[in-house]
């Protein structure tokens, strides 16, 4: 791997890969192995994405604390470090268009480059979980808790409440227990009936491998540790004035209140689509996964020719499937650029497709089991929906009552989604409120537009773009 200083970024690249998580690393390596000249930009200081964050540079004395699936990333990151490609760490992409012009920002300097092919491998982000007062210090995402553990060996010291649902929440609980953390309670918001509806997908999930058993073993060890576990939790609220002091909720018809200075929220992950939406790729609603996803062909190419998506940015499939989809996309780019004929591409792709499909077999079960209730996505009036511009759910409902035609107009009326996060933590909520108030489907409501800059850039930096 050639780690590059910024002065020598090529103005014209053969292939630009955005993101160094499992999908981006695999796509870049596969294309490079077949002779493509690859340039990779990543936000983080180290390769591995969020899932394999610091996997070979961990501050933890023993990374096995985090489990085998994390350690699995070690050889992947090591192989990436030895690949023949140009890798730029700590570099954010603030612009992408359909002509494959890309704006990057590194060490305060903005560069504009163009590429023959682009693979977006920007992964996933956590689905917003808006509950009253979730903006208080002391409320974070479960993903944030796990990043602190991976990158800084940090764990809660006064105990923690975990609330929401999904594999990541259970994994974090299991990791915290192994690290000796006191978990005050797990508040599982999975609605009643999900398990029953998921059962029809169970045989396929069982046949697919051992992921399901891993999950069951994790749940068993959480049960053995006697962590207070509340099912079908609703009316979740964070409480406190300037900092979190307690969490209140309802479960089994009773109201509860638990004192805590840390609440970690999680209700699944959704594709990180910002750069793809901004470029103008066609986006579809996935009802099973309750999120927008990029419309792609079998190789990950979007509706914009030459722009590809690999990994969770296309649809949520997890780290191993992301890596495999990255390989497929890398093969197709090598083919399109003349490094690989169609026969050889198909021959190499066959076992990868088989392995990826095997990985994805558990998804319909997980999607049904952890389907988020409407109440989990549509908060009460007094909840801040847009954390950046501090717009409440009531204000969104008020503009809908006034006849506001959709999420993009609501943005203009209320500034909701115009803050620094650019709607990453409110767009999904606003769209869901619209769907509910109007009695429309999410596909009818449509998605919120994304505009450059994708990441904060000063006017001075913009003006001095090289």
């Amino acid at each position: 791997m050639r780690c590059r200083g910024i002065g020598i970024v090529k103005q014209t690249c053969q292939l630009v890969v955005i993101g160094a998580g499992p999908a981006g690393m695999a796509a870049a390596q596969t294309a490079a192995e077949h002779g493509v000249d690859v340039t990779l930009f990543d936000d983080q200081a180290q390769p591995g994405g969020q899932i394999y964050r610091n996997v070979d540079t961990s501050p933890l004395a023993d990374t096995s604390l985090l489990g085998k699936d994390y350690v699995f990333g070690q050889p992947l990151v090591q192989a990436f470090r030895h690949a023949e490609l140009d890798y730029y760490a700590c570099t954010s992409v603030w612009y992408l268009d359909k002509a494959r012009e890309i704006g990057i920002l590194k060490q305060g300097v903005s560069h504009k480059i163009s590429a023959q092919r682009v693979i977006v491998a920007s992964g996933a982000q956590e689905r917003p979980m808006p509950v009253p007062n979730w903006q208080l210090p002391g409320v974070m995402t479960a993903g944030a808790g796990q990043i602190l553990l991976k990158s800084a060996a940090m764990v809660p010291d006064n105990g923690v409440v975990l609330a929401g649902n999904g594999p990541l929440m259970l994994l974090l609980a299991w990791q915290y227990l192994r690290a000796g953390v006191n978990i005050h309670a797990i508040l599982d918001t999975t609605p009643k009936g999900n398990l029953f509806r998921a059962l029809r997908y169970l045989p396929r999930a069982l046949a697919a491998g051992n992921d399901l058993w891993k999950g069951l073993r994790m749940m068993l060890s959480i049960a053995t540790a006697r962590v207070p576990y509340y099912h079908c939790v609703s009316e979740l609220r964070a409480e406190g004035d300037n900092q979190l002091q307690a969490v209140s909720f309802s479960a089994a018809g009773r109201h509860h209140r638990i004192d805590t200075d840390l609440l970690l929220l999680h209700q699944g992950v959704i594709p990180g689509l910002h750069s793809l939406q901004e470029a103008g790729c066609k986006i579809d609603w996935n009802e099973a996964q309750q999120c927008w996803q990029t419309k792609v062909d079998a190789w990950g190419e979007t509706s914009l020719s030459g722009i590809f998506v690999a990994g969770d940015g296309a649809a949520i499939g997890g780290a191993v499937a992301a890596s495999l989809s990255g390989q497929l996309t890398g093969l197709q780019v090598a083919h399109q650029l003349g490094f690989l004929d169609a026969g050889r591409r198909d021959h190499l792709a066959r076992p990868i497709i088989k392995a990826r499909d095997r990985q994805l077999a558990i998804r319909p079960f997980l999607d049904a089991l952890y389907r988020v209730a409407d109440a989990g996505m549509i908060p009460p009036d007094d909840t801040v929906v847009c954390r950046c511009e501090e717009v409440s759910a009531r204000e969104i409902r008020d503009v809908i009552a006034l006849g506001c035609i959709g999420p993009n107009q609501a943005k203009a009326f209320t500034r909701c989604g115009m803050g620094l996060c650019q709607g990453r933590f409110c767009a999904a909520t606003v769209e869901q409120i619209f769907a509910q108030q109007r009695g429309e489907s999410m596909a009818d409501v449509g998605h919120t537009s994304a505009r450059p800059p994708l990441k904060p850039i000063t006017l001075g930096q913009l003006a001095e773009t090289i």
């Binding site: 002391g138 995402t141 904060p456």
Partner: protein, 97 residues
């Protein structure tokens, strides 16, 4: 709120709101603020409400902070460096240093 499992790790000194404080080397500014218990890490420009790091992966921008004179830096994306001057923002940050 948080403690470290790597207690023997190397320490460096940063300046938080003008005062020198020891923090572990190699972690992000946001992680350091959480470990120091230095919350909130900013007051918002809109309603001056207290905020702290939230997503830790560069998506939510809640952890914005002034670093070495430059305002609105995402603290979760910047590694602590010896002698770094970190200042908490109250309201909108001044972009020019």
């Amino acid at each position: 709120m948080f403690r470290t499992l790597a207690s023997g790790s190397e320490k460096i000194e940063i300046y938080l709101d003008g005062k020198p404080v020891p923090v572990p080397a190699g972690i992000s500014v946001a992680a350091a603020m959480l470990q120091l218990g230095a919350l909130p890490t900013r007051l918002t420009p809109v309603k001056r409400s207290p905020r702290a790091p939230f997503c830790m992966m560069g998506v939510c921008f809640e952890c914005l902070i002034e670093i070495d004179g430059l305002a609105n830096q995402p603290a979760c994306q910047v590694e602590v460096q010896s002698g770094m001057r970190v200042r908490r923002q109250c309201g909108a940050g001044e972009l020019a240093s």
